[in-house]
């Protein structure tokens, strides 16, 4: 009996924690989104869609994810390939590359703000080199594309490491024999990458994509730091409605939209990158 119950006992604290602090609030949020003063209604969603910022918040969030996630995957694949090829100093490089993982997203936003603001490092450097006559406002509501790019750069800088860690682990699991066989048949490096590495990495790519996409839809602090209210995003609107406008119903509706998109993408990646049963290692 003891041996059989032990795993459950060990899992219990974590499970209780998750139920109390995640599952229960999540259900509560879902109920709040569909009720106004105790009555079931779609009104919160109506208010959300009618608000003039909804469309741009949704669009900005999707656009940001569409820019950031593929770039991070490509970049991480490239970095992971380089790291696995290294003979010495591999750990050191990995540690350095994963430093941004240890930085909170707000801190990352503030670091990039310090670079890009009017009195920031970039302006000072350009001014010092005589390239510009006076410091200019880079992060301005007048250049929404610049804001988007600045946020994308900060996000890529901050969170590529998490993808990298997953991909490096996945790459290490690919048996050497496949590459050796391919080489015997004369496959070049690109062909080996496309025909062996990528297909064999499906499971880790899937994990990395799901994790990063969900995080991309939750982007908040970096945008707040760099773009303020000039670039509405879904999580920013959740905060806005909950704490500034004091309307938990609409805030919950926004949160459910984020949840819905995240679930949709998770299902998509689970399906698109599934490994056929017979092909599992």
């Amino acid at each position: 009996m003891q041996a059989r119950s032990l795993p459950y006992l060990l899992l219990a604290p974590a499970s209780v924690f998750l139920v109390v602090f995640f599952l229960y609030p999540a259900i509560d949020v879902a109920i709040q989104a569909f009720t106004v003063e105790g009555e079931w209604t779609w009104a919160n969603f109506g208010d959300m869609v009618d608000h003039w910022k909804f469309e741009s918040a949704l669009w900005n969030t999707l656009l940001l994810a569409a820019i950031v996630v593929p770039l991070q995957i490509a970049l991480s694949l490239f970095m992971a390939t380089m790291v696995t090829k290294m003979k010495r100093g591999r750990d050191l490089i990995l540690y350095i590359w994963t430093i941004p993982l240890g930085i909170s997203d707000l801190a990352a936003g503030i670091i990039w703000l310090a670079i890009l603001e009017q009195n920031g490092f970039l302006n000072s450097a350009l001014f010092g080199l005589g390239i510009i006559d006076s410091p200019t406002t880079i992060l301005s509501y007048q250049n929404p594309w610049v804001l988007l790019i600045a946020v994308a750069i900060a996000e890529i800088w901050r969170s590529t490491a998490i993808v990298l860690v997953i991909l490096v682990a996945g790459m290490g699991l690919i048996p050497k024999e496949y590459y050796e066989a391919a080489e015997v048949f004369g496959a070049g490096p690109w062909k080996r990458f496309v025909r062996i590495t990528l297909p064999m990495m499906r499971p880790s790519l899937q994990t990395a994509l799901i994790l990063r996409t969900i995080l991309a839809f939750e982007v908040f602090a970096v945008v707040i730091a760099l773009a303020g209210t000039n670039m509405p995003i879904l999580m920013g609107e959740v905060y806005e409605w909950e704490f500034r406008l004091r309307d938990s119903g609409v805030a919950s509706a926004y949160a459910l939209v984020v949840l819905g998109i995240s679930i949709a993408f998770t299902i998509f990646f689970l399906w698109a990158l599934r490994v056929p049963k017979g092909a599992r290692v």
Binding site: Q2, L9, S134, S140, R244
Partner: protein, 430 residues
């Protein structure tokens, strides 16, 4: 059960218990002062060391400044359970009106008659209930500040202490054209107080109203005038939260903001900055007084100590210490000592000139909106963002936002406040 299991269970149980206690109530004799004011680290520390250390109570005062979200969340949790650890609430008038009158104790028992608190302020503290639900604690307002370098660009014949909005636009235009970049700024960032600029300054100055004439022709003219000013306003304004920062870096030379949010500029470089009243428009010099108060929640653990602390905060000496700590002015009648911080000297003159000017037209803080206060502010912020940032048509935006404003006023059932004439029912939006 094996010995290992037992040990693990005990350990996890103990861990849960300790985390439970870490957030649990402080020791009984301490009094928790839960506040939305004096949030910057230096101000909070000054509150503890210079203001609250002198309180002769049964225990220390634990001063805990909070952001709006956590502030309200914990109070609501305590009100819901009917059991609390917060002994005293320090907040703005608008925060109190969102708490619910039933949750605040009547402080009429505290004798403040000899302190010379303005009856208008005491009445605001009643929140329309007839009971003293919060005690006026400290006050401030919004003024203008300028770098001395900006003064040569003032238009001819303009008196900095009696500017008009047209002169301000001309001044900002001169600076933008002659220095190469706009030098006027407003705090339009995420936590900037830009809505007060529209509610308490532009609207009263151009429409003699804050709510009723929201979408009038005068309001349309007002937004057109604002857009002239906006064209020569620093495009980084939507990222400014406290104007003292761009003033100190020199990004901005002339700025509008809350006195407490300009203070550092005067304190760090008193010789470089001047404070002056807000400009006047066709219907007077609109300005908005700000009031913070202290209140005792019905769930306070020891209400007598909370009341004692409230009276302590009203004492003239405490009020002066509070002024030094927070840059908020006393609400009681008190003579300011000569050696006050530079920000106090600079802004007190401008505040006095502003409220005493012949064409002064005060726009009071919203009253009776309850927890719709945030949405009320959002109407003005959205109007600004749609017109100035998104470039939408002024008339369309005003008509659209006026509907939202009307719904809010009707839902809250709030009658008009100055400068709008008193109304019987909810304040109408024409």
């Amino acid at each position: 059960m094996t010995r290992l299991t037992k040990t693990l269970l005990l350990a996890s149980g103990a861990a849960l218990l300790t985390t439970g206690f870490a957030t649990a109530p402080v020791m009984a004799q301490e009094i928790l002062f839960w506040s939305t004011q004096a949030r910057p680290v230096e101000e909070a520390q000054a509150m503890r060391d210079d203001v609250l250390a002198g309180f002769d109570g049964p225990g220390e005062v634990d001063y805990s400044p909070q952001d709006g979200g956590p502030f309200i969340t914990r109070l609501e949790a305590e009100f819901t359970t009917g059991e609390g650890t917060i002994g005293l609430i320090g907040a703005l008038h608008g925060d109190f009106s969102a708490l619910g009158n039933d949750n605040l104790m009547d402080l009429s028992g505290i004798d403040v008659s000899s302190l010379g608190i303005s009856p208008a302020l005491l009445e605001l503290g009643q929140l329309g209930s007839g009971e003293q639900l919060y005690m006026p604690w400290m006050q401030a307002t919004y003024i203008m500040a300028a770098n001395r370098e900006a003064l040569p660009y003032l238009p001819d014949g303009a008196d900095i202490n009696a500017l008009t909005y047209d002169q301000l636009i001309q001044w900002a235009t001169n600076m933008a054209e002659e220095t190469g970049s706009p030098k006027f700024g407003i705090p339009a960032g995420p936590s900037g107080l830009k809505h007060r600029f529209f509610q308490g300054y532009l609207y009263p100055s151009f429409t003699d109203s804050m709510v009723t004439e929201f979408r009038s022709d005068a309001a349309e003219d007002m937004w057109e005038t604002f857009m002239e000013l906006w064209a020569v306003t620093s495009p980084a304004s939507p990222s400014y939260n406290f104007m003292q920062e761009p003033l100190l870096t020199g990004e901005v030379w002339v700025a509008f903001d809350h006195t407490a949010r300009l203070a550092e500029a005067f304190n760090q470089r008193p010789e470089d900055f001047v404070a002056f009243p807000a400009p006047a428009g066709p219907t007077g010099r609109g300005f908005m007084p700000v009031l913070a108060g202290v209140g005792v929640p019905v769930t306070a653990p020891d209400q007598d100590v909370s009341m004692d602390l409230t009276s302590y905060l009203m004492e003239p000496d405490t009020q002066i210490a509070t002024l030094r700590a927070t840059n908020f002015f006393p609400v009681v009648d008190v003579e300011l000592p000569a050696e006050m911080p530079a920000s106090v000297r600079a802004s007190s003159a401008a505040v006095a000139a502003q409220s005493a000017s012949a064409d002064a037209n005060p726009g009071l803080l919203p009253v009776g909106l309850g927890d719709l206060g945030g949405q009320f502010n959002a109407v003005y912020v959205d109007t600004f963002e749609r017109i100035a940032l998104a470039g939408q048509d002024i008339r369309t935006v005003l008509d659209d936002q006026a509907e939202t404003l009307r719904e809010i006023m009707e839902e809250a059932g709030a009658p008009c406040w100055a400068p709008d004439p008193a109304s019987d029912g909810p304040c109408p939006v024409n």
